[in-house]
Amino acid sequence: MFDKVWLIPIFPIIGVLINGLLGRRIENINKSIIHWIACGAVALSFIVTCILFFQMLGLPADQRLYEFTWFDWISGGVLHTYVAYQIDPLSMLMCLFVTGVGFLIHVYSIGYMETEEGRYYRFFTYLNLFMFSMINLVLANNYLLLFLGWEGVGLCSYLLIGFWFSEEANAIAGKKAFITNRIGDFGFIIGLLLLYTSLGEHGIWTLRFSEVFTHVHLLSPQVATAICLLLFVGCTAKSAQIPLYVWLPDAMAGPTPVSALIHAATMVTSGVYMIARSNILYSMSPFAMGVVATFGALTALFAASIGLVQNDIKKVLAYSTVSQLGYMFLGLGVGAYAAGMFHVLTHAFFKALLFLGAGSVIHSMHHGLHKIHSHVDAQDMRNMGGLKSKTPITYVTFLIATLAISGIPGFSGFFSKDEILWQAYSSPHGHFILWLIGAVAAGMTAFYMFRLVFMTFFNECRAPEGAEEHLHESPKTMTVPLMVLAFLAAVGGYLGVPHALGGSNRFERYLEPVMGLGPEKLLHKAGGAVAQGAHAAAEAVHGAVGHAAAAVHEAGMGHMAEAAHHAAEHGSMFAEYLLMGISVAIALVGIFLAYTMYIKKRDIPEKLANSYPFLYRLLLNKWYVDELYELTVIKPLHGFSVLLWKGVDVAIVDGIVNGVARIIGWFSGVIRYIQSGYVQSYAVSVVLGTVVLLVYYIIKAIS
């Protein structure tokens, strides 16, 4: 069945073709055909993925890699790229939740977009196109096809952010997303070119993962670092990290299901996926990993700080996403690739749920406000409140997601976030500071999320007069996905219960085959001098005897390392408990603060804002980063372009051309007088000529 992997991307693209080409007609006949096609396509992809997934699980761990070449893509000379897919634990994991969560959000969209007239088919076409791109991204067996998905999802993001394009702000937000991502892609593609040509120098002309990763040792450390950093530039745009995160908050202009699917659960995590996929490459460059970890940690803190004061419900969630992505990169950067991926998974559940919940709230608010013809902002939390009783399902599910993201023990976010924080502290690439930043950001997260819950669902309703009685729960197509996701957000974490809590971290085990450094990582963890020495010795053997020796080394050292690892594990167990306790405590403090400020003594926020106006405005205006970019990049570039056009093109180049033409014209004008047809003027010329000649000869004779 593995050779049927192409079925996964083909269903959504068929959906695109049908709805894209005939959608307008179908919509006129019966709107529901459109969403049946779109949801059905994704459901089929999901089913195929499930089948393949379980088939793969049936195989022994070391055989879980299957590559399927569909057709030849861009080739010429030594360049050979294919549209080819790969089935392995990582790609299957991504594909499962992309199609799974994607399906739920498709279903949810039926309810959310029901009032959309005439453009309903477009929405589902774009969503399907997104699924196609995202599936290509995660299933690709080479970097170029990954890049196709990578830019493809960016394109869909652009189209969907600007879905309601009649508002200028939405159109601008879409464009901003695309351009920012293009800047990142610039780094990405240069990284690819560098990787391709530097491996090519060793005769390995390939972009295929399995080939690249078995040959990365040929790269010099400097080149490896450069490649990793360039690829990371791509991630900072796609996964919204400092300094290219600026597009994501604006992307909230799109319909809420889009925010949930693209800007929370799937697309924005593709940077994390890419680095996890390239973990062997990144492990070659501790420097690049340090950069990834640092940027991740800083982003986590920075975005959380902005989230503290935002009033738009989706904006809070957007900054929260940026912040959570920062955690994932922090995990990757300290070498905890599996932990990073684990957070991708749990985040997909609870963040999709948060967005869909927010969407349900907005949907309800819209409805209520529409009824009384009010133009109050339906997304501003200051107009909400007391929705707990109006939208009970939304409230309960939302609360579960909030508990998960805040890292309350037992919920999914707790396990993944804690794994990252623990690794940030304990891993050889980690540092106490990184842990501290992460822990502080976790406290902020708990605060702003509960602030959001309290402002939205608690207290009295602040909606305009008369709107309140029209607020009600959303339709079934919206609440059922909420419930499914709530279940996943609650229990998803048990996939990877760490050893410290009596689990076996099955998630990490599962991903081990793709992480390529299983034994080596265990060695690091053991940290013992003996193991280190043995490792060095083994490495020498590895170098000398080659691959056969390597296999022996891996098998032998694996056991040794595992034993050492277990010994070390018990010693550090205490530290792990301690840190876990601290981070939970910090989260509880955050919740308590939110409770005090937004339930008990609701005048505190205003007082705080008044006593620290500078800080408040700085945060409210998102540290003025957009303004900074506008001033330092966009304006100068525009000015320079105008200068080139008016100055160089029109004035200089055309000036010269027209000048030459004018001189020739003038010269011809002068010459014209010579041939005027008047006998007199000819006579004058003859006389003048004679005189000139005479003078010439006379001078000559004299000298």
Partner: protein, 528 residues
């Protein structure tokens, strides 16, 4: 005589002339008959050219479907035609774009319809002739012949400042051709001096061993001529004027095929004839190409006129083509050729799109639009596809060309490739910005509220281009595999001959000047 035993190239080349003859017989007043006839001929012409693809043997680098008939024996001028992997797709592109051009002029052109259609068909023959000629004089005749219909298209059916634009176009290109002609004649005499045979055959002249010092000047002459045509920075300023003033079909042909004559010229003449000099020029050309990419993109960004924006984007795109060709490796050259085709399709489509909106609103100023997607959804879709192709989103044809060029360039000159790649950011910037201002935002101009969406004819015009964007984006092998043999031979031959030349001593500036003197002496001797 060739694999079909049939002069198929002649048929394809001159079939439009047959159409011209028929058009001449039709009454001036019956305009729809004229239009229909032109469409019919151009469509049949396209189908006639298809056997060239099917019977093309992609295993050989040799010229195919060759026709060789002595023309002016005493001068060694032959009627010598042939197609290889380099020219094949350009020929198809020409026959493919012409019917589209005729179709898009259906209502756009209201005066002198008969003459207009004749001009278009005449132009098609001239372009095809230039692409298939293997004799320098024959090539030169077609090359110059292209100028006249194009000059008329701009000068007669153009916009307000058509005369200025037409003259500028004509003078620029004609000035370039003069240098080329001088160079051709020199080669001819030089060949006679060395081999004792009078010939203008390109394939024969490839074999010449031209002194390194002379090569520089000959190559320069060809370069200038082709660089104007491409156009390369800083010889590009005729292009925006010509595009803006030309009628839609003129712009499509100009962007789609005429500009490719420049890049094709580099591949067919300048590079293989003068490998050593080409090598010397490599850094200069690559620099100019990269400047063109960034410069064209930046200037495009601030254009208030949609058509001018697309025109400047051409400068940027053709910069990619040149960068690819001069990377002088498989990926670069194949990517460059592929990008020529892409540019014909994406920029062709963009010009059609601008033309369609102009026909409705009689303005091309970006600020006059806004929110058009609401009233013209089908138009918006086509516009989006063309935009995506132009900004080289993976999955479209543009990406294939751009990626191959970047790979090729990165192998030859990494820094240039990096700068060129930044052009992709700027490309997205100006295209999406235009799209946003024209198609998105509120529909706030009352004139735009009643705009009609595309009619069936317009959809038929754009549909083939839109389909090709994706076919070429996902299955580039269909096109690239036919080029492989030719391009790899081209590079192998180029390199062996370059190596041979490189054995000879490197000339100094003094040598070059001396060489010029030598040229004059040689000429005198041979003429005598």
């Amino acid at each position: 005589m060739n694999q079909l035993n049939f002069p198929i190239i002649s048929l394809v080349t001159f079939f439009p002339i047959f159409g011209v003859l028929i058009l001449l017989m039709i009454d001036k007043e019956s305009e729809d008959v004229l239009r229909g006839t032109a469409v019919a001929f151009s469509v049949i012409e396209f189908f006639l050219s298809l056997p060239l693809i099917f019977y093309f043997n992609d295993a050989t680098h040799q010229m195919q479907f060759v026709e060789l008939i002595p023309w002016i024996k005493s001068f060694g001028i032959n009627y010598y035609l042939g197609i290889d992997g380099i020219s094949l797709w350009l020929v198809i592109l020409t026959t493919f774009l012409t019917p589209i051009c005729v179709l898009c002029s259906w209502t756009y052109i209201q005066k002198y319809v008969k003459e207009y259609m004749i001009c278009l068909l005449l132009l098609e023959t001239a372009m095809l002739g230039a692409l298939v000629s293997l004799d320098m004089i024959l090539f030169y005749v077609f090359w110059e012949l292209m100028l006249i219909p194009m000059y008329l298209l701009i000068g007669v059916w153009g916009g307000k400042e058509r005369i200025y634009a037409a003259v500028k176009f004509f003078i620029y290109t004609a000035a370039g051709s003069v240098f080329m002609l001088l160079s051709i004649i020199f080669l001819y005499y030089y060949n006679y001096k060395v081999t004792g045979v009078y010939t203008f055959s390109i394939l024969e002249l490839y074999k010449l061993n031209i002194p390194v010092s002379v090569q520089f000047w000959l190559c320069l002459a060809f370069f200038v001529s082709f660089a104007i045509k491409v156009p390369m920075f800083p010889l590009h300023t005729w292009l925006p004027d010509a595009h803006v003033q030309a009628p839609t079909a003129g712009s499509v042909i100009l962007a789609g095929v005429l500009l490719k004559m420049g890049t094709y010229g580099f591949l067919r003449f300048a590079m293989p004839l003068f490998p050593y000099a080409t090598h010397q020029f490599m850094p200069v050309i690559a620099t100019l190409a990269v400047i063109g990419i960034v410069y064209g993109a930046l200037v495009a960004m601030v254009q208030p006129d949609m058509k001018k924006l697309v025109a400047y984007s051409s400068v940027s795109h053709l910069g990619y083509v040149m960068l690819g060709l001069f990377a002088l490796n498989m990926q670069g050259v194949e990517g460059g050729i592929y990008q020529m085709l892409n540019h014909g399709i994406s920029t062709g489509a963009l010009f059609l799109i601008v033309g369609m909106i102009y026909e409705r609103r009689h303005t091309r100023m970006i600020k006059d639009f806004g929110g058009i997607a609401k009233v013209m959804p089908v138009f918006a879709t086509f516009f989006m596809i063309a935009t995506l192709s132009s900004v080289a989103v993976p999955g479209t044809n543009g990406f294939v060309g751009e990626f191959m060029i970047l790979v090729g360039a990165f192998r030859s000159f990494p820094i240039f490739a990096v700068v060129a790649a930044s052009g992709a950011i700027l490309g997205a910037l100006y295209m999406l910005w235009m799209y946003q201002r024209v198609m998105f935002c509120p529909l706030d101009k009352p004139e735009n509220e009643k705009l009609k969406d595309l009619n069936a004819r317009e959809i038929i015009t754009l549909l083939p281009l839109a389909v090709l964007v994706f076919v070429m984006g996902f299955f580039p092998g269909l096109f690239l595999r036919k080029m492989d043999a030719t391009v790899s031979y081209f590079l192998k031959d180029f390199n062996t001959r370059y190596e041979a030349y490189a054995q000879q001593q490197q000339p100094t500036i003094g040598d070059r000047i001396a060489a010029v003197m030598q040229i004059k002496d040689n000429k005198n001797i041979t003429v005598e």
